[in-house]
């Protein structure tokens, strides 16, 4: 069973439907006990970084989340949820993140001057290094759906896939059992569902 953390950010309808589609049970929860029992955890998120981080802190779930990560439970942040995993973000100011993945979130516009922001639409995945288990069912070059104006930088060691938008946009990251997807797997057609399928096969302590 996969627990989706409910901390009052964004609409989880599509995400829940996509897990349903691949036959995975989900529970939307802010209950510590449920998070402890779950096989894996999703940290969702849309909107502004500082607002989401405030809400996550106020939910009181950060300690249990970190404890579960320490135990080796797979956790994946999606979109803004991925960004929250990083040390800090420079989205309208400077804000601390969860510090689970080394690196920071910066405006795409700092590095890409003459392209449209947000980086919105379907872009091809370029795997970095040997293919990560998250992409077990996905081929190099398959397209996924992005909508974002900020992206993760200074995180070379954890990048498992990027997309080209005149610069390399961090598409997905992993640091042991902590994973992050800038892309929206719930909006990326069969490719997205395949990313979720692979995530749902991950078990506690079994990720390289």
């Amino acid at each position: 069973m996969t627990a989706i953390i409910d901390y009052g950010v964004g609409n989880l309808f599509s995400l829940v439907c996509s897990f349903e589609k691949i036959g995975e049970d989900t529970v939307i929860t802010r209950d510590e006990e449920v998070l402890k029992k779950a096989d894996r955890i999703i940290l969702p998120g849309v909107g502004a970084f500082s607002d989401a981080m405030d809400k996550l802190n106020k939910s009181g779930l950060v300690p249990v989340l970190k404890e579960q990560i320490k135990k080796g439970k797979p956790i994946m942040g999606i979109c803004l949820g991925m960004q929250l995993l990083f040390d800090k973000s420079f989205e309208y100011g400077e804000h601390n993140g969860l510090g689970l993945i080394k690196g920071e979130i910066r405006p795409i516009a700092d590095d890409v001057k003459d392209l449209k922001i947000p980086h919105m639409g379907w872009n091809a995945l370029n795997f970095k290094g040997s293919k990560h288990p998250l992409f077990k069912y996905v081929k190099q070059g398959e397209c996924v759906y992005f909508v974002h104006s900020f992206y993760a930088v200074n995180c070379f060691d954890s990048i498992i896939a990027s997309a080209e938008y005149r610069t390399d946009i961090t598409a997905a990251v992993a640091s042991k059992n902590v994973l992050g997807c800038q892309v929206h797997p719930e909006k990326s057609g069969e490719t997205g569902l395949n990313i979720l399928r692979a995530f749902c096969e991950m078990r506690e302590g079994a990720i390289c």
Binding site: S14, K116, P118, M120, W122, A124, K187, G189
Partner: protein, 252 residues
Amino acid sequence: MITKRIIPCLDVRNGNVVKGVNFEGLREISSPVELAKYYSECGADELVFYDITASSDGRKLFSDILCETAKNVFIPLTVGGGINTVDDFDRVLKCGADKVSVNSGAIKNPQLIEQAAKLYGDQCVVLSVDIKRVDGVFRVFAKGGRENTGLEAIEWIKRGVDSGAGEIVVNSIDTDGVKKGFDLEMLNEVCNAVSVPVIASGGAGNIEDFITLFKTLPKVDAGLAASIFHFGEVKISDLKKEMNKNGIPARL
């Protein structure tokens, strides 16, 4: 590199998909849920649902259909039609829409764009504009293309983007339903005026029209059409193969 998007548009009335020619003489075809699934499987990059129902019963039916579609289709969904208030945004977003398209509602109440953008983010607010040449000037039309608002189109679009619209759908009434190609002149003016994604709508008759669109106007991000897809005159998979052959990035 980001791919050019191909977007089928489904006009929905009383639970069925319809397509008007020059906005008149509506003809009903097929279940929207089935059609959406079909398009998603054959490579559509996004779907637009326009609710052209007037009654509240029809609106409820539309919400149910939207929910049913969102449960089965995992590509971005944009919803338009009858969006007049922030509550309307809320209603369709809860049913699984990713983006909401405003048209007449924003003309009646220009603050709507700003209010919605603040609540849901710019990326969620699509400004759809029906444009027709009147004495050589691009004018904005309301109420499904029936009423000349007198607004100058490029000014209106710039205002919309300044207020927070994250994407523009340009629907040329002059070329809509004529199937002789997109309105390149109109689209060029819009692309030069704004820096947000621009979706071309109205006039596509065959694959070549899309190739011409993206080759002539590289700033256009997406092409939208309805009947040519619904009646199988253009298959999305064929269209995308042809785009790739012509050096236009498309998701296969």
